[in-house]
């Protein structure tokens, strides 16, 4: 049905796509596998008219087409569900769909749209409240809206860009029958992922991309998991990956035997009141992190993680309960959000917004937490010699690849930017570390680096609280695991509890 022939796309010196040829069949579910930066997103953007290929052509039903814009893509019957949802939160479900699926300036086309939406939701056995503002919907529901929206605009091809990144294992499982129904209705589904298991369950055929090239196209059952992974990653890293928790890179025992170290951070019955009456984004949370352990907090995004983190950082005052740092029980007011010198390392989820100042140099970013302390400043004056010296040490120690310390940090790759954050936060050997989705957006190599650094800090006796939405990575390096669901924290008996049990707890059905 759809053919991409010899598509190439370069961004400056980087070839994002190199002679990619791909052929999709009607009614098939086709998987595109590849790690971060393999060119999956670029390929999808080209298909959806958000980027334009330098060379090559696209044929739809045997006719050559030029997809110059998303509008053109939609006219051709292509609908896309983006990894980051593209919805207007203040508008209702129906208005959002109207924005995408209706044409013309005047009528939002309510009646006709509702018919089309109902036709699809009936097929998928979904129930959508069309008049609800999107802001009030949970993540899983929003994704359904996105899918229905794409179906209403498209009609021939449905592109799903990493749709499972934000879902629990159970929600992923629930997504499979509807997608099969979509394919059965005669549409082609293009499913992009870097998670092998889902692709194996869902797809008929797969294409594997590596560094912008197609390394394999064919039926899914011709390769086993090991072969697929090898083709995805190439020879750079040994398989199984770090995330495979059977083989931990660090062979330390999961639980410290003998006496427990005193907790470095403790939350006692912490509750936080929400903005709406009667809402409790955090309710009676008890939590402790001890020296030399990694305490993992699992949970689907939006179950109170933000509140938990901001509470620990001192940006939110709990309505009830205490946050206690270290040995002094009354020190909960001395929060790391202030500059009281509490040795806390914080690796935020959104490093671009919260951790880095991109126009500034690597050196300035490395010094961002210590610039005012001795020996880096004297009487309010900066001692740049010391800055240079210290940042050179950190750059060497954490293997930050940059031309020199004066390079703006924004010109570095994502992995190296995260190394700057990790170097700053862990370089001063803090006794307490808070890491939130520290591998988000990183490729396998950089993820492994970050996780190894966390494990190294653990060996040196740091207490680490790891809030992570990637369950597999979380389980791979955590000593203890708790699940945050709907503002309530429950400790699991990991590693005795199974991954599936934890998945159920994340959904609140255990």
């Amino acid at each position: 049905m759809l053919q991409l022939i010899n598509i190439s796309k370069r961004f400056g010196p980087v070839a994002a796509l190199d002679n990619v040829t791909l052929s999709l069949r009607r009614g098939a579910i086709h998987g595109i596998l590849g790690e971060n930066g393999a060119g999956k997103s670029t390929l999808m953007n080209i298909l959806f008219g958000l980027a334009h290929p330098d060379t090559g052509k696209i044929e739809l039903d045997g006719r050559r087409v030029r997809i110059v814009s998303p509008v053109r893509a939609q006219r051709l019957g292509i609908g896309m569900v983006h990894q980051h949802f593209k919805m207007v939160e203040s508008l209702t479900v129906l208005e959002n769909i109207s924005l995408a699926a209706a044409r013309g300036l005047w009528s939002p086309g309510r009646r006709e749209l509702i018919g089309r939406i109902r036709a699809w939701t009936d097929k998928l056995h979904w129930n959508l409240d069309l008049e609800k503002p999107v802001a009030d919907l949970a993540v899983g529901r929003r994704q359904r809206v996105e899918i229905v929206k794409a179906l209403c605009t498209g009609g021939k091809l449905l592109i799903l860009d990493e749709p499972t990144a934000v879902l629990t294992p159970q929600e992923v499982a629930e997504l499979i029958p509807p997608l099969r129904a979509v394919a059965a209705a005669g549409m082609t589904v293009l499913f992009i992922s870097h998670k092998l298991a889902e692709v194996q369950k869902l797809c008929d055929r797969i294409t594997i991309l590596r560094k912008g090239r197609v390394v394999y196209t064919g039926a899914i059952n011709e390769l086993d998991a090991g072969q697929i992974a090898e083709k995805m990653i190439g020879a750079r890293l040994k398989f199984p990956r770090l995330t495979d928790h059977q083989e931990q890179p660090d062979n330390a025992p999961r639980r410290d035997s003998g006496e427990l170290a005193p907790p470095r951070l403790e939350l006692r019955n912490v509750s936080i009141r929400g903005s709406r009456h009667g809402a409790w984004p955090l309710l009676n949370v008890n939590l402790s992190v001890r020296s030399g352990e990694i305490h993992g907090i699992a949970g689907v995004d939006g179950n109170g993680q933000d509140f938990l983190i901001r509470c620990i950082l001192g940006q939110l005052e709990p309505a009830d309960g205490n946050v206690i740092f270290g040995d002094s029980p009354d020190s909960h007011r001395k929060t790391p959000g202030t500059r009281s010198g509490t040795p806390l390392g914080y690796i935020p989820e959104d490093r671009l917004r919260e951790a880095l100042v991109l126009p500034l140099s690597v050196q300035a970013n490395l010094m961002l937490k210590r610039y005012h302390t001795s020996p880096f400043a004297w009487m309010g004056l900066c001692r740049f010699g010391r800055w240079r010296q210290r940042s050179a040490e950190l750059i060497g120690q954490f293997d930050i690849r940059c031309p020199d310390a004066q390079t703006p940090v924004g010109t570095l790759s994502g992995g190296n930017q995260q190394k700057v954050v990790v170097a700053r936060e862990l370089g001063e050997k803090p006794r307490l570390i808070l890491a939130v989705n520290p591998t988000r957006g990183l490729d396998v190599g950089a993820s492994a680096f970050v996780m190894n650094q966390l494990l190294a800090a653990r060996r040196e006796g740091a207490a680490i609280l790891l809030v992570h939405s990637d369950l597999d990575e979380l389980l791979a390096i955590s000593d203890r695991v708790s699940v945050l669901y709907n503002g309530q924290l429950q400790e699991t008996s990991w590693p005795d509890a199974s991954r599936e049990q934890i998945g159920k707890m994340m959904l609140g059905i255990a």
Binding site: T338, P359, L360, S361, A364, Y371, H372, C382
Partner: protein, 378 residues
Amino acid sequence: MMTTFHSSSPLRRHAGRFSRLISAVALLPLTIGTCGLALGLVLSGLALAGYPPLAIVSRWVDGSIGGIYPLTNSLADACPLLLTGLAAGIAFRGGVLNIGAQGQFLLGAMVTVGLSTRWLIFHSAPPVIILAILAGTFAGGLWALLASVLERYRSVPIVLSTILLNFVALYVVRAILQGPLQAGGTPAPQSPQIAPAYWLPVFIPFTSFHLGIPIAFVLAVLFYALNQRTTFGFESLVIGLNPGAARLAGIRVTRKQFLVMFMSGCCAGLGGALQVLGVTHFMTGSFGNYGYAGIAVALLGRLNPLGIAGAALFFGMLDTGALRVEESSLALPHAVVNVVKAVVILLMLLLSAYLLGRKLRTRQVDPSPPGDRGSDKL
């Protein structure tokens, strides 16, 4: 090698409002080229309207730097511009959108006039001068802080509150100039003249080269050092570029921004104080547009105090030279100066946007916009 916090790279991903301007500090040739281009554009426009461009230029040069009087007049005009420019520059660099230099300037001038004419009379002049200047400076700073307080406690965007406060200040000053500070014998809002003993000393007799001019330029150098060498300068830069990261790095953003705002207002207030004591020696209900022009000066100087000094000189020369052109047989309206200033700023915004944009576009890697989390508006 002098180490700076930022590099000249035109980089501005996830960066704050002014990162583009700040990171383009090194683009001096571009700035000078822009000024030239703007002058050229306006002159050709005037040529079309029937004014001979060469005659304008020669009169303008003559009137701005031709001789000791025009030169000192240009310097004297640059002095308030430099201070209001510093006011805007400090604030913008620290991520505070203080558009209220005009109001702060007016209040500073008014308080200084009040003290030195009616409210504070000693037999020896220096204490009066010093106290009047200090009071004018702090009046500007406090007026600026009012906007900070409104933002902190009532969430009123500083952009809007400072603009509105400019008008409030204008009418407050007019009311006082018609009331307690009115000079006898006139119905107009006008203050009495300051006694010559309290005037700022003049270095070259019969010129306007007063003590305030070196004060302003020294202040610019001090602010440059503050920006480049101190932890405070580093903090305010980080806050201006990425307030979220600053907060998490332990910088007390609100407190620093209060301080930045206060310093900014003080600069503007000082500008007003020096202007009345050094140049005008009295005050009327309409007392120039130095505050608004200061914003343009700051932008042209790309928020760098030394650049601001250069820009203030340029604008001062424009103003003084244009007076000569207006008085001459050409009778070119003085308002043309404002056109030149605005065209300079717009051209600079346009050129840096397009030139840097093109440079960036060739290196663009990822066409997909990143996630849409959070926002820091206004």
